[in-house]
Each structure stands twice: as C-alpha cells, then as structure tokens.
C-alpha cells in the first residue's frame, strides 16, 4: 500500500488509520499509542520518531476527550490519579535528566518488554473476574481517602470499592515515570497494571483513572518532542482529530462493556506492547 500523493486524500487516509487508536485508547486506558505508532510507520511510511511525536500529542486528545466523559460519569478516581501522578512525574524527571544519558535505550526496551510479558500472568489469573473481591483499604489508602464508588452501566448498580497496596503501586508508578522519561513513551500500560494488580480497583475505574493520568505524563513528554522538531503539525491535525472522535466513541462502548471483557482487551494489548518493545530493543523497527 502506498500513501496517497493527493493532500486531501492523504489527510483522510491518516485520519481513517488513526480512528481505531482513539477507540482502543479510551477503552483500555492506554492512550492509543499502541495502535497509532505501528499504523503510521507501517501503512503511511512515517519515520518512527515522527510517528511517536504525533502519537504523544494525540494521546493528550484521547486522555482529555475520554477523560471529560469518564470524570463527569464519576468512573475516574480523581484522588488516586492526583496522588499517583506525583510518583510518575518525579520518575519522569529523574529518568529524563539523570538516567537517560547513562543507559542504552535498547537494553531498557528489552527489560520493559519482558516485564510486560511476565505481568500477563497475574492478569490471566483474574481474567474472568468481574469485580475484585475481599479488598480492604490499607492504612495509606484510608489516610488518603482513596476508596470510592461508581455507577456501573453494565451491572446497573452502584459499585463501592476499597483500595489497597499503595506502596507497591507508588513504586510501579515511579518506574512508569522513569520509563516515560528515558524512552519517551507514555507507559500507560504500567499505570493500568498498578491499578489492577497492586491496588485492586475495579477494571473500569482502573482504565478511566489511567486514561485521566496519561494526559499529564504525555504533556510533560511532549515538550521534548516539540523542542526536537519531531512533531509534524500537518500530521498531528488528522491524527489528533480522528483519535478524539474515536475516544468519544470508545467511552460509550467501554461504559456498557463488562469489566472482564475490558480486562481481556487490556491483556491482548499488554502482549502486543510487550512484543513491540522487545522488537524495538532488538532493533527490528
């Protein structure tokens, strides 16, 4: 497939290719870079750095567009988001300023890929589970008042949940920040893992809260890409507007899905990203 040489057609091709990224990003809480980057590089022959530049900016559109719906519908846990953003932001700055100059990114891509593939195990263990059982708030979660409730449209009832495992969740979020800072990727996948595995919040809350947070991480990371001239404005317009429409559609789908279905989509994405990271580490693309 060769990209069109007519400007209007090219813009429409890019927009059509990006739409799915917004839907997947909004449902999984991963932002959508997982779909946007491969589609732009493979089908539209955009160099990887510029594809990631467009993806980082567009993830902000997914996060904000889907976030405006999830926050209004009270699925997002704003306190968890604010508290964990602290660890991510600190990790991102330390990663970019002090760690990036000293490590080979290849090594980190491989390490990250392996971690993601291994974290499929605990996800598989609870693949069919609809809501977390027997979770009691730990001391930090009580102090920070993190427990909350949301109305589940699929179950047609209010779901009250407690939150646990704050120290491991913070460690994961700090690591997610370092990975973002060093590799320049959103690392939304680690955010969902922190919510799902460490804190044991319901999957929809986990997805919506991760989606809410990635906008802030992506905004900080976007600065680097803007300064290096890796953001192509004419490419961003079709990608960002298409993923925004996709994200708004995605929220409607996600709210009516079962938690276990969303977790299956996430597990699939986790495997794909793990393999993608290994491939980048080994220099395949």
């Amino acid at each position: 497939m060769t990209p069109s040489s007519s400007p209007l057609l090219w813009l429409l091709e890019v927009a059509a290719a990006s739409l799915a990224g917004g839907v997947v990003g909004a449902i999984s809480g991963l932002g959508g870079g997982i779909v946007i980057v491969p589609v732009l590089t493979i089908f539209l022959k955009i160099p990887i750095d510029q594809a990631i530049g467009a993806s980082i900016v567009s993830v902000i559109a997914v996060s904000s567009g889907a976030g405006s719906v999830y926050v209004k519908d009270r699925i997002t846990n704003v306190r968890i988001a604010m508290f964990l953003e602290l660890a991510t932001a600190a990790g991102a700055i330390i990663g970019a300023a002090w760690i990036a100059p000293h490590v080979r990114p290849q090594l980190l891509f491989i390490l990250f890929g392996l971690i993601l593939l291994f974290s499929l195990l605990p996800i598989f263990a609870k693949l069919g589970e609809e809501l977390p059982q027997n979770v009691t708030s730990d001391r930090m979660a009580k102090f920070l008042r993190l427990g909350d409730s949301y109305f589940d449209k699929r179950l047609s009832r209010e779901v009250v949940y407690d939150v646990t495992g704050i120290p491991p969740a913070m460690a994961l979020m700090f690591a997610a920040g370092i990975i973002s800072g060093v590799l320049g990727i959103g690392a939304g996948v680690v955010k969902v893992l922190a919510h799902e595995i460490a804190m044991k919040v319901p999957t929809k809350v986990s997805t919506a809260t991760s989606n809410f947070m990635i906008g802030v991480t992506a905004a900080a990371a976007a600065g680097v890409y803007l300064k290096r001239g890796l953001v192509l404005p004419f490419l961003v317009v079709p990608v960002a507007t298409a993923v925004l429409i996709g994200a708004l559609l995605g929220t409607k789908i996600m709210e009516r899905m079962s938690n276990s279905m969303i977790r299956k989509i996430f597990a699939l994405a986790l495997g794909v990203i793990g393999i993608e990271m290994l491939m980048r580490g080994f220099g395949v693309f």
Partner: protein, 124 residues
Amino acid sequence: MNPQTMANQSTIQIASAWVLRIGVLVSALVMLIGITFSFFHGGTAVSRMQSDGFDINLPKMFAGIRAGRGKSIIEAGILLLVLTPVMRVATSMVLFAFVQRDWLYAGITFLVLVMTLAGLVWLG
C-alpha cells in the same frame, strides 16, 4: 463522607470535565481552521506535510497567525492541546485549596503541577 464534601468533590469533577472538554474541542477546532488556511494558501504538498516540523518560536508563531499562515495556527492549536491537562491540574489545585479546603490534596496537586511544568519547559 458527609454531604458537604460530596458536593465539593463533584465541583472538582464537573470543573475538570469542563476544562478537558473545552480544551480539547477548542484545540481541535483551531487545528482544523489552520489546515483549512493552508489549503487556501496552497502550502499542502504531501511531501511538505510529512517533513515540516513544529518550530518552537512564539514570536514567529504569533506573527504567522496574524499573517494567516496555516502552519502557525496549527502550532497554536497543538500548544493549546498540550496545555489542556496542565490547565486541568491547575484548576483542581485551586478547587482543592479554596473550595474544598483540602490542603493535603491541594499540596499534592501543586507538586504535580510544578513537576509537569518543569518537565515541559526544561526537559529535552
């Protein structure tokens, strides 16, 4: 949770949702206006759209907007988009502090805001 904090928490949620919605819709609109201008001025060869990078130069961007240059208008739209999550954090900080009087979360939000801005401005 007493009804008062319940009401205030929903104030933060409603405000965050509106900041995100307005930010993302306005930036998308500005970008679409920018690309329309580019089409009218004939600067939209695919080879150019695949290579012309974002240029961080605010005076040049504002001059470009006044001259009706599509690329400058798109750049302004991208900046608005990048600032949307930052505005959301700033809004929640103000509401945590002055509406909810929740100093713990106002402090947490303040640190997040400072670190995000530091990352945006200094990194790279």
